[in-house]
Amino acid sequence: MSTTTVNSIIARCILDPRFLDALASNTEETLKEYALDEQEQRGFLSLDLRRIRYLAGFITKIQNHDVIAEMAQTHTLLRHYDLELPVFSAYRETHQRMRAANPGKREKVRAFVAFLKTYLASLPPDSAPGLEDILNHEWLMWEASESAGTQPPPSGAGSTDETPPERALDDLDELVPRMNGVFRVGVFEHDPLEIANQIAKSAFDSSRLCKDAGIWGYWGNPGSASVRLFRLDYGVLTVLQEITGSRTIGEIIRRLTAAAKSEITPEEVRSFFVTAFQSGLCRAT
């Protein structure tokens, strides 16, 4: 008997997914380097290695509780679709690499979300309705909030970079708009707020989800440390994409008109900017 050796093999199975794969595909060959007695050898040959694989996933989940707390609704749907253990089992290798660098929570969240997006994209279509949308929603909420938190608060009095006074709106075309804070855009198959609402009420039902493709904007406002959501139409999106911090509104209108990129009229563009200045979404220089 050798408890030390058995513990060592189990620990390696949990920590090293490639070793576990090798053990599963050729148990006897993989165990050759270990001094096991006959009973221990038989024990490993008859072991359901799927259970160790899932235990590794279970441990990975526990070691990522801080990440899960940031993506709580995504986690709820992972459980709803029986994907929690498969996902965290698959994430084990990345997680182990991450442990080596002792990353902070931000790095852990970014790594997990990147992994999960790839994982979910590999699933058969429509196998987990709403899951990719809620992941994207929580990610954009988190990312906009985090990024806005690293930006300086709005400039104080006397600055040339602030909401234009009412009279300046008369010469709107001369103003140079820039985004205030962080603005992220997400494309969704289902309404993310509807999904979030169902989950919050513990009443998620994928059969009640309607395909409602839409574009949503996530504004991280450094002044209020909050994230606001806007449902965007394509016209507004093209206007937002033209904001560089150096173009005047007049230039933006001319570019949109010349490129025929949008059905939005010059008056609608101006109206958008008036609202954007008043809400604080844009500032002018």
């Binding site: 008997m1 050798s2 408890t3 030390t4 050796t5 058995v6 513990n7 060592s8 093999i9 189990i10 620990a11 390696r12 949990i14 920590l15 090293d16 070793f19 380097e33 270990y34 001094a35 096991l36 007695d37 009973q39 221990e40 050898q41 038989r42 024990g43 490993f44 072991l47 359901d48 799927r50 259970r51 160790i52 899932y54 235990l55 279970f58 441990i59 526990i62 070691q63 509780h65 801080d66 899960i68 707390a69 709580a72 986690h75 029986d82 929690e84 253990l85 498969p86 182990q96 690499r97 442990r99 080596a100």
Partner: protein
């Protein structure tokens, strides 16, 4: 706090998390104590401030008591210091291993911690056999040499049977308790999980444990995924588990029952209060209400 209550009914406590902290601060009467992991105190010493609200029980997962890779002396010293600062009446530790030696001949090149033992970062049951018993007895003796308070060993859940196992967990634990001064921290949820994963009657098996040496009981929720039952510290303890508690109380010298609802996604405060009351009713009346 503890000594005068030694003869009274068991106290009901909460494993630490932010929710438990908030509850204890706003509603101090809701629970009798906080159980706090040594590893958390080492990471965030400010948690000791909560001792002004409730006494602490110190729990530990760092000693790898069922493994051959010993914890560094600095870890032992830190546990010693936190025993002193928390004034814990005993130290609970998992009857498990968390680290394991890398065999010298191993071809495994560990990028995570080259030259160091494997560190799972989570407690796992060892093979249950005579050799492991000898190893655990030596570990317990070493711990008792360092610490002046009783050591409680906690039964781990079994998700698979470790190769080399020759006896049941009940026999394994009974033998260890018979050869050491350690008492038992009986995690009823772990026992229940093991019973579901290995298809036996938990109530019948429970009676084979050395219940007369149980000092503390843990309860928490259970999850079933991939046809395997798992520990879940974010859901209420199921009735079949609570129904085992009176069997322990009438046979043991239980002084504390801890609700382990300490995962971040755990329940809202009102549910936490209800859960404490639910367990308290069982302790007082003997049956789940």
């Amino acid at each position: 706090m503890w000594a005068p209550l030694a003869e009274s009914s068991p106290l009901i406590g909460l494993a630490y998390n932010r929710g438990a902290e908030s509850l204890i601060k706003r509603n101090p009467a809701s629970a009798d104590y906080l159980e706090v992991p040594f590893e958390l105190l080492r990471h965030d010493a400010s948690i000791i401030d909560l001792k002004q609200y409730k006494p602490f029980i110190l729990h530990c997962a760092s000693m790898s008591i069922a493994g051959s890779a010993r914890p560094p002396l600095t870890t032992i010293q830190q546990i010693f210091e936190w025993i002193d600062r928390t004034e814990t009446p005993w130290l609970g530790e998992h009857l498990s291993f968390i680290t394991a030696e890398k065999p010298g001949a191993s071809s495994h090149r560990d990028e995570y911690a080259p030259g160091e033992p494997y560190n799972i970062g989570y407690t796992v049951s060892p093979p249950m056999n005579e050799e492991t018993i000898t190893m655990v007895v030596e570990s317990v003796d070493a711990c008792q040499h360092h610490f002046a308070i009783p050591l409680l060993l906690e039964n781990p859940p079994l998700y698979f049977l470790p190769p080399g196992t020759t006896m049941s967990q009940a026999d394994f634990i009974r033998s260890i308790c018979g050869q050491t001064s350690a008492n038992l921290l009986l995690d009823l949820t772990h026992l229940y999980i093991t019973s579901r994963n290995f298809d036996f009657d938990p109530r019948r098996e429970l009676l084979k444990y050395p219940l007369e040496q149980v000092v503390e009981v843990h309860v928490s929720g259970v999850d079933c995924q991939a046809d395997i039952h798992w520990d879940n510290h974010a859901s209420p303890v199921p009735d079949p588990i609570l129904q085992m508690l009176p069997l322990v109380l009438e046979r043991g010298k239980v002084r504390a029952v801890t609700l382990e609802y300490n995962w971040p996604s755990a329940m809202v405060e009102s549910v936490l209060v209800d859960e404490v009351d639910r367990v308290r009713r069982v302790v007082q009346r003997g049956m789940p209400g």
